[in-house]
């Protein structure tokens, strides 16, 4: 009698196990996956860029490649310069560089300030952008911002627009005010070089920092 009851109970148990195996009542999942669980539409690019500017971008300037070293290698071996100092986003032949240095102003206009950065230069080697700033040179050039951290690429792209706005507000006016021919300028910034760029110089640099010596 007891054996029969036990047998029935075991059958019920087996059916219950099979049922819950196929349809588990709950499942344990990780929830701490960082940005990917941010509610949609809550990314504030302006706030992000403000923090990024102070906490990451400016502190990273000392780690940027020296402009004279980059210019010298671009002159002798552009492929090696791209390989050694460049960064590309995804599948792209455009290369971004993060560079810093000191240059002498050759000339200045409303849109750019032309500099030489090597002692042997006979023509401008760097063109600091001093007009409207477009594109993703700074976002992609520093290597500090990763596309994979942004579930919605609109947020990733909004960073570029905000960075460019901040550069126009904070860096460009200072550059325009101090850029007189013969002046010495310390700078840091990002340059974008397309695969089919024939004339490498002057290297068009979006400045993130300038200081007139």
């Amino acid at each position: 009698m007891i054996m029969r009851r036990l047998f029935h109970i075991l059958i019920v148990l087996a059916v219950a196990v099979a049922f819950f195996w196929l349809l588990p009542p709950f499942r344990v999942v990780r929830t701490n996956r960082g940005t990917e669980h941010r509610p949609p539409g809550t990314f504030n690019a302006a706030e992000f860029v403000e923090r990024f500017w102070t906490n990451q971008l400016l502190p990273a300037v000392p780690r940027a490649v020296a402009a004279d070293e980059l210019v010298a290698l671009l002159r002798t071996d552009p492929a090696a310069a791209r390989q050694k100092f460049g960064r590309s986003l995804g599948l792209s032949q455009t290369c971004n560089f993060f560079l810093r240095g000191t240059g002498t102003v050759v000339s200045a206009s409303d849109t750019e300030v032309l500099l030489t950065v090597t002692p042997s230069a006979t023509a401008p080697e760097v063109a600091l952008q001093a007009g409207l700033i477009f594109g993703n040179a700074v976002r992609d050039g520093t290597g500090l911002i990763d596309v994979n951290d942004y579930p919605n690429s609109q947020d990733f792209n909004a960073i570029s627009a905000e960075l460019n706005r901040l550069i126009e507000q904070r860096v460009v006016p200072q550059l325009r005010a101090g850029a007189k021919p013969g002046a010495r300028i310390r700078f840091a910034g990002c340059a974008e070089l397309g695969s089919d760029a024939v004339n490498l110089f002057p290297l068009r640099v979006v400045p993130v920092f300038v200081e007139i010596e």
Partner: protein, 329 residues
Amino acid sequence: MKMKPIQIVCAVAIGAALLFCAGCKPKAEQAVQGEPSGKPSGKRKIAIVISTLNNPWFVVLAETAKARAIELGHDATVFDSQNDTAREAAHFENIIAARYDAILFNPTDANGSIANVRKAKAAGIPVFCIDREINATDAATAQILSDNYSGCVALGQYFVQRVGTNAKYAELLGIVGDNNTWNRSRGFHSVVDRYPGLKMVAQQSGEFDRAKGLEVMESILQAHPDIDAVFCGNDAMAMGAYQALVAAGKDKQVKVFGFDGAEDVIRLIAEKKIEATGMQFPKTMARMAAEFADEYFKGRRDFPQKVPVQVELVTQDNVHLYTGYGRKE
């Protein structure tokens, strides 16, 4: 009420069984999260789910993905979602039920398609998004996407160069629920909005569709017969807009800008009838997605979540370097 010892034993056993079951996942899902699936390497079934085949650009995307999958030794079937999220969801149900091994996926909606990808993932089927993204980085195995924003920054700069800084223009948007629509529009506006003399007099959705693009352009021309240019979020709409302009006798007055690199637009750029387009590389993206799936079958798991693919500006000056959907070999 006092329980008998046998009842206590049964209650404990059922509780333990419940907890055990709750912690379990289907075997296939475990495979997604790290271990190669148990199937031997060899011929696999790949589903290619495309937002719409009513646009030649997506036909190229689908056919290239299929051809590459077959070339790699697999079976491939194309499913057309007809820009309908419900139809897309039904495709996913069928694909999961039919136990496909991978999905190459061109979503209809950046948010609405996430649930489908999650279902496939839960069933152990890796999903590789092509061209259009989903707004999640923990669902698809990888997403291969055109860098629309950068492409339209370049297009916007060329637009200013060609149209000038004092002009009226219209914009035809794509599908409003698609991120590509807004990445293109915002990339373009990140440039043109900086010139106060450039006035956008109309902005309407043409839903990435040629017939809709024609219809919207016709109504814009009635309200604003004096526009100087139109920026279209894809080439199908650019073709529709151009057709409307020809019919209204305004094709010489209004400069047309597209985006995609479709064959007919490349031809019209070469004939100096359309100004420019942004060349996406659908064949490159489709091939890469099929190759990713093949690598997945062979055990690879370290895919980058997002692979932006560069977009190139095609103008009347450099169009000789391009053919429909890519660069000339």
